[in-house]
């Protein structure tokens, strides 16, 4: 019983150590590019959704025409910055 128990604990411990330490040995120092891209894409979809919501608010009459155009342009600018960033990365 005692022996088995010790074996289990040792096994568990070494598993944990191995799991945590491997990336320190094998990994790279730099942040992989495709990972940055993911984040940018996520932001892009959020912004696109925001434009959709804005359009809908405009059609219902909750946003004046002037506001609508301004905000939409702002959002579009933000999106184009992101798209340039994505291009720069890849």
């Amino acid at each position: 019983m005692e022996i088995n128990f010790l074996i289990i604990i040792t096994f568990l411990l070494s598993l944990i150590v191995w799991y945590i330490v491997t990336p320190l040995i094998e990994g790279t120092k730099e942040i992989p590019t495709q990972i940055n891209q993911h984040e940018l894409n996520r932001n892009k979809t959020v912004l696109l959704r925001q434009i959709k919501e804005l359009e809908m608010d405009y059609h219902i009459g909750n946003v004046s025409e002037e506001d609508f155009n301004n905000t939409r342009n702002e959002l579009k600018n933000e999106i184009s910055t992101i798209i340039t960033n994505i291009k720069n990365i890849s």
Binding site: M1, F5, I8, I9, L12, L13, I16, Y19, I20, V21, P23, L24, G27, T28, K29, E30, I31, P32, Q34, I35, N36, H38, E39, R42, N43, T45, V46, L48, R49, Q50, K52, E53, M56, D57, H59, I60, G61, N62, V63, S64, D67
Partner: protein, 654 residues
């Protein structure tokens, strides 16, 4: 052997948690991505070990291993298997472990959700999550270890068993639901801190946490509603909310959480209220911890009174640490929290949101004030004062009605400013319907608060319908869709918005239910078998008193025929008087319990309690309550939950 493994996992988890913090600090210092990955993995390990420990405790509960003190205290051999599982959160140390378990599950979800992406916020988010984990790990490792062996000098053959009041399906789901809510707010909190630290206080973090906040809010609402439902079904005082300190503790973060949920919309759309949002989420999280503390420390006497413990000081220290860090961060980041725009008119939706926030915070403060007033007054004047429901009702009813009113007004306001035309167009029908209901109430002779609340509910209800109608109209004219199709696509394509409006509808229904209280009546009386008693439009006839023996209790069941005045049988109620542990030779250990019976319709509940019995004389002592419109509270609750779920449902990307 396995319990030792549980203990070891918890200690290991604590150790690895520190390592994970260390790895992240190395990453931040050297910006070597390898440390990030290692830290990420260490966090996975911490969470996995905690989950493992919880599963081990669960396993021991199911096995009824009474060598573990916790198992012996909260279960017995007679406890049904299902309630052996729920015993996991019945006691102090178990529930702390359970808190940690939920946090670990949430943490794993966050880790995996963002495993392929990296943002500046990420390391800080994880650090905050691990920091909270460390706090609870310290609690379960050092202060309240759930794996503590039984310290009796005899062999425990059977445990104490779970309180029969807790052996109820609702009670089984209520605490974990509430916990999912409490713990859930940790995630938006972590994002907020990360945003403050990295100075990325723009709209990115706000957008990423809307979902998490909604999830936490959904569980918090569900937990509170279930708690009320349980109290109503089980406790036998005829109500669902008593303003008890523990109830208040769960209500306060809900209020600030709701305020937060609304005010992030305005930051997302307009870049306003950035500082305010930070304050709100920090307060909400602190209140969640405070709530866990109030529930678990026994510092306030309440129906929820659990054993008094030594947790108090540790929780206070933790809360103070959080507050100090948060306040420092907010103050030092004030320049980054400047609004991009400003509020331009009182009739704008922006000011609607602002007002909504002020009202929520006022209610929260009133509740907080009433909850800690006894402590304050004892410290200041030495008088022990208890604050009861009448205080809270009196303070909150007017504010609550105002909140209801603005629930109707807010969504119909336009951004920046609402033109006079739009005002008349949007509000004429709701105002007319409000006035119409007011007149109807007057005619029916209603003279209490419902004279205000009923017209208000009508006003808000129509206002929400108009909001839907405006959306549908815009689709019908733009896309030439049929009415039903337009409604369907409207909700499907704008889930978060229209789900929100459906949740508003739920609130309106709940207010109808709250209003009904003004008409409640009750009577306590003794009834001999065969006799009947007339009360509030019904005749109650006692038909039978039957003894029954069930596996873990005995019961007397009263059969009561309820007749209306036209001599039609409305229903037969069977409230029970039970005695649990009736086989225990020590009469002190036997526990009586009244199981009530309720006849529910959408107009009223007939609520019956069997409070005492005289078997020789065949007399039953009964309490009957006629509770008006209670059904609407639960119905509103369903609508609220469904609305929130619609909001949460992942939208298709177009």
């Amino acid at each position: 052997m396995t319990p030792v493994l549980g203990s070891i996992s918890l200690s290991l988890a604590l150790g690895v948690a520190f390592i994970s913090i260390l790895l992240f600090s190395l990453f931040l210092k050297k910006s070597d991505y390898r440390f990030f990955i290692a830290g990420w993995r260490a966090t996975v390990v911490v969470s996995a070990l905690t989950i493992l420990a919880t599963l081990i405790l669960l396993y021991e509960l199911l096995l009824s291993n009474f060598d573990i003190s916790y198992v012996a205290h909260y279960t017995s051999l007679e406890t049904p298997t299902f309630y052996k599982i729920t015993a996991l959160w019945a006691g102090q140390s178990g529930s702390l472990l359970f808190w940690l378990f939920i946090l670990s599950v949430y943490t794993l979800i966050v880790l995996y959700q963002y495993r392929n992406s990296y943002s500046k916020l990420m390391p800080w988010i994880i650090i905050v999550l691990v920091f909270v984990q460390i706090f609870f790990l310290i609690l379960v490792n050092i202060v309240e270890n759930p794996f503590m062996p039984t310290d009796a000098d005899f062999v425990v053959i059977n445990g104490n068993g779970l309180n029969p009041l807790l052996q109820n399906l609702t009670m089984a789901i209520h605490p974990p639901t509430l916990y999912l809510g409490y713990v859930g707010f940790t995630i938006p909190f972590a994002f907020a801190i990360a945003a403050l630290v990295t100075k990325e206080t723009g709209s990115v973090w706000i957008r990423s946490i809307r979902r998490w906040t909604l999830i936490a809010w959904l569980f918090q609402s569900g937990g509170i509603i279930l708690g009320g439902w349980w109290a109503y079904q089980e406790l036998g005082w005829g109500g669902y909310w008593a303003w008890d300190p523990v109830e208040n503790a769960s209500f306060m973060p809900w209020l600030t959480g709701t305020a937060f949920l609304h005010s992030i919309i305005i930051q997302e759309k307009k870049g306003l209220l950035k500082t305010w949002n930070m304050v709100l989420i920090l307060v909400t999280f602190t209140l969640c911890i405070f709530g866990t503390f109030l529930t678990r420390s026994g510092v306030m006497s309440s129906v929820h009174a659990f054993a008094v413990s030594n947790l108090g000081p540790i929780f206070i220290v933790f809360i103070v640490i959080i507050l100090v860090i948060c306040i420092y961060l907010i103050i030092s980041r004030l320049p980054y929290l400047k609004s991009e725009k400003r509020i331009e008119s009182f009739t704008s939706r922006e000011s609607g949101f602002l007002l909504n926030n002020v009202i929520f915070i006022t209610i929260c403060f009133a509740v907080f004030w009433g909850t800690i007033f006894p402590v304050l007054s004892e410290a200041v004047s030495g008088d022990k004062i208890t604050v009861g429901a009448p205080f809270f009702n009196r303070v909150n009813i007017p504010i609550g009605l105002m909140l209801l009113f603005f629930t109707g007004v807010g969504p119909l306001l336009a951004w920046r400013r609402t033109s006079k035309d739009a005002f008349i167009r949007n509000f004429s029908i709701p105002i007319i319907s409000g006035i119409a209901i007011f007149i109807v109430c007057l005619i029916f002779g209603i003279r209490n608060t419902t004279l205000i609340s009923f017209p208000l509910t009508a006003f808000v209800f129509t206002a929400i319908l108009i909001e839907f109608q405006r959306g549908i109209n815009s689709r019908v004219t733009r896309f030439d869709e049929s009415f039903l199709k337009a409604l369907q696509t409207l909700i499907a394509r704008n889930r978060s918005r229209y789900g929100g409006y459906i949740a508003h509808l739920g609130i309106v229904f709940m207010f109808i239910g709250f209003s009904g209280q003004a008409f409640d009546t009750e009577l306590e009386f003794a009834l001999k078998k065969g006799d009947s008693k007339i009360f509030d439009g019904y005749s109650f006839e006692l038909v039978s008193i039957d003894p029954v023996e069930r596996p873990n209790h005995i019961a007397w069941i009263a059969g009561i025929n309820v007749w209306n005045l036209e001599k039609h049988l409305v229903t037969t109620l069977y409230p029970e008087k039970r005695v649990y542990f009736h086989l225990d030779p020590n009469p002190e250990k036997r526990q009586p319990h009244s199981e009530l019976d309720i006849h529910t319709t959408i107009y009223k509940d007939i609520y019956s309690i069997f409070s005492g019995v005289d078997i020789e004389k065949q007399i039953a002592y009964l309490k009957i309550m006629i509770n008006r419109l209670v059904y609407w509270v639960w119905f509103g609750g369903y609508v609220l939950i469904i609305g929130t779920m619609i909001s949460l449902w992942p939208a298709k990307e177009y």
